[in-house]
Point group: C2
Chain length 253, copies 2
DNA sequence: TATTCGTGTGTACGTTGTATCGAGCCGATA
DNA sequence: TATCGGCTCGATACAACGTACACACGAATA
């Protein structure tokens, strides 16, 4: 619940009156409108869209569905976002704004570990976000993530490129890991399977067919022997520890 | 190309019909039709769809556009795939089928490194595939990737769960890394920027605005000092080396 | 030659993103 | 107090999408 408010800037904007061809979404939303907003605000739009995506999936977020949820006409939101792409940018930034980035941590490793765990939790809580965002978009609240990481890494005195390499490796691992976790979850939901057992049962015919081809002896052996196939937490944590161990070893920190 | 393995009757249709009355895409495509296909084949469909996605992006792959490219009516492809989702499954499997998985390698590390490099090359050559696929889908040619990895890892005598953890960590890193590389490339193409310089120039206003807010002092310092910002190869390789170092250290192999 | 069935065609429907225009509301000005 | 110009939101419309459905063709079977 620690809420970092969505796009509210704090700069006086005294000198940046250069006329850009098209000011970015965030720049536009920053300037308070002369007339105070009444029914619609970027915040309310993002909130409603995120709620729909969380409960019904990203595909359920249509401009009409969103308008209905907001109680306005289908085209009303276009006053704030230039199109659906910007709507999704807004949603992503809104969710990143809820990341708890102020947790104290001593040492770079604990800080990166905590960051990774929080990012994964966010990806699992909003299963659509890994597909909609990339680790390096340029939205205010997304950029706060590398900012936090760089600040935590500063103590080690690494050069800039190495610092980025460390953060990027972790971020990219978390993104890919979450994406694969979420993909399975999406499949489960799409097929209407309720739990892990039903999912395994639903996937069984396909798996049986594939194994029946005889092309995958090593994989088949894995299936028979593995005991943690359905323990995503263990897989995530183990992989993360590998990554952090590797960073420590590779850069000698 | 799609599965080329022998049919192998698959006798057990006894009790495994849950909510899935229809056999999977791959199972259906396996059985040769009594009448030899004439104008359309799964292979031709996948090939044409991939060609469109490669040159015009995944969004350009519509059932109508595909039909035009194949010289058939809009609904023709529906004889082979049940809908657009299966079309994309077919495309993904087609591309994975072109991965060179038989390159010899001595040692698990060289094998995993080679696998990672090839996977990344595939993701960059077909920029849509990272968004369309996950590292663990159950299509024949996708499953060949863990199969190859497990075979290469077998020499080390790790237990099944650890073997998967190793492969998953690498696969997930490559997936996330490629996704972020491709995202920038997609942005470049979408905005019509031709090279890295134009991209940087196009992103500059947004970056200037964000830095102007003063929220990102560490990131700003990075921007000023870094010299490898535009060297994705270095970032990928460095991160991969971290991951492999970490695996070696964490599991003592 | 008559029948069957796999294959591709033609048409149509509901939904999507969004361009365009008009109406209502507001604070500022006269 | 009356007028005005700007945002804000509503209403309508359109092209393109995925795909359901019914039908026509031709080779294989009899």
């Amino acid at each position: 619940m620690p809420a970092q408010q969505a796009p509210t800037g704090d700069s006086d904007a005294a000198a940046d009156d250069r006329d850009k061809p098209q000011p970015s979404l965030w720049e536009r939303l920053d300037r308070p409108s002369p007339a105070p907003r009444t029914t619609l605000t970027p915040h309310r739009i993002a909130e409603a869209a995120v709620a729909i995506a969380d409960t019904e999936g990203l595909d359920a977020v249509t401009m009409r569905r969103l308008a209905t949820a907001l109680g306005v006409a289908p085209m009303a939101a276009y006053r704030y976002v230039s199109g659906k792409d910007e709507l999704i940018e807004l949603m992503v930034d809104f969710v990143y704004g809820q990341l708890p980035l102020d947790t104290p941590a001593d040492g770079w490793r604990e800080a990166m570990h905590s960051l990774a765990v929080h990012l994964r939790a966010m990806n699992l809580a909003h299963p659509w976000i890994a597909r909609a965002a990339t680790p390096f978009s340029l939205s205010p609240n997304q950029l706060a993530v590398p900012e936090r990481a760089f600040a935590a890494l500063a103590e080690r005195g690494l050069d800039a490129d190495t610092t980025m390499a460390v953060f990027r490796t972790v971020a990219v691992y978390v993104h890919g890991s979450s994406a694969s976790e979420v993909a399975l979850e999406d499949l489960r939901r799409a097929r209407g399977w309720s739990d892990g057992d039903e999912t395994r049962a639903g996937l069984a015919p396909r798996m049986t067919y594939l194994m029946g081809t005889g092309r995958y002896p090593s994989y088949q052996q894995y299936l028979q022997q593995a005991t943690r196939k359905d323990d995503p937490d263990w897989h995530f944590t183990t992989g993360l520890d590998c990554v952090l161990d590797g960073i420590a070893a590779h850069f000698g920190i």
